[in-house]
Amino acid sequence: MWELIGIWLAALLTLCIFSFLYRDNPFYRFAEHLFVGVSVGYGIVLTVHQGLIPFAWNPLRDAFTQQQWIGLVKIIPICIGALFFARLFPAHGWLIRYPIAILIGVGSGLAIPNVMRADIFEQVLGTLTPFAQIHAGELDPFQIFGAILMLLGVISTLTYFFFSVEHRGVVGGVSKIGIVFLMIGFGSAFGNTVMGRVSLLIQRVDFLLADWLHLI
């Protein structure tokens, strides 16, 4: 019984959302507001259960009930986090800058080494490796052509992203080749993603026709 209600609800809400394809209408608005409201409520419950309770409440409770005093250390991040509420008091609103600064600083600090490794060192290595294989005689002519094409793509695309050089003459020509490589890449990504989206649509139509209407 509950499963049947769930299927009907899901099907009707799917149709409400699909109705946006025609134009904005009360059905879409209902589904939109329900979706936003439910997601916010769900998010709050998730934050409380996966953030507040295990990382703030439990350590403090254990500190006082089981004398696990190390849990009191959590008071520091809790206080920093509580500074976000300073915005509610206009006279002390500036205090919010501290947790924001810490968040951005820590986030950047954690991200920079990973970006350096994954986006620079690994990419350079990936570009060089085929040429080591060319020297070792491991690649056939078609693969050698692919490696040279990749090198040309990397260099020309990199040239496109030089901002302090005027894109004229040789630089302009090379950066134009870079744009061509970028557009070919975007085109293939576009096609690939559209295929993924079509499969999502097929899945939804399958739900409507099979699970809801039992037509197939």
Partner: protein, 298 residues
Amino acid sequence: MKGPRTFCSSPVIQGLVLLVVVLGYAANAFAQEATTIEDAQWFDTNKIWIFLAVLLYSATVVYCIYHARSGKELFIRRIPGLEAVDEAIGRATEMGRSIMYILGLGGVSNVATIASMNILSQVAQKTADYETPLRVPCNDPIVMNVVREMVRTAYLNEGRPDAYNEENIFFLTESQFAYAAGVDGMMVREEPAAVFLQGSFFAESLILAETGNSIGAIQIAGTDKEHQLPFFIAACDYTLIGEELYAASAYLSREPMLLGSLKGQDYGKVMIFGAIVIGVILELFGITWLTTFFQRVN
């Protein structure tokens, strides 16, 4: 399994007395108990080259900023997407309609979100001048707070604190598609004249861009997510591709510090360029030390 055995427990905790029970079988089965003390490590020496690379890059950027502050004018090439910012704001002002600025789904420490907030600050300065309503639906409550602070500062800098309306910058939801549904609904109802899609976007990118396109808004998009860029290029009027997003704040503000930073980034790219060219030549001659170096770093 005779002979000394070494292993490292993870995570390493300073002062932890670890009872190691070694079970071995040789001629006769035996059990041995041993204690050992582990030392915490302040530095991950495997990442020393990354650290040095970050230091070198930072030094280059700092030098360029210092150089830019000395007063020398720095050239920055034309970025069409950013030249259209004034056009978009002007159009919204003339039509008496609002501007919608969407920062995507990234958190406050996301690089693209930070870049987007910098662009927003520049856009806010212009909307403050023209008294054009600037609507910013946020996906992250912390981002919302930062954005409110930045926009308020931008309005203050323009001498228009009275024009700042905090309620125009609001939290919608953290859920990806609920956010897309909400923003789409707002776009259709409010019909903003200009839509900025700048930041970190995922599968919702085309839903947002297509709706903006359907209402006839001038759209300027930008993201570093290469899988979403094709959708923006297809559905928006102007698109900032990848690093153009990071360069945007320097381009718009023309502040020496940001321009210097941009110049430093270009030098960083020259280093990468050089490493690739030299590496390819060396590899073709069978000299592999550069590849070996990158393999060790990774």
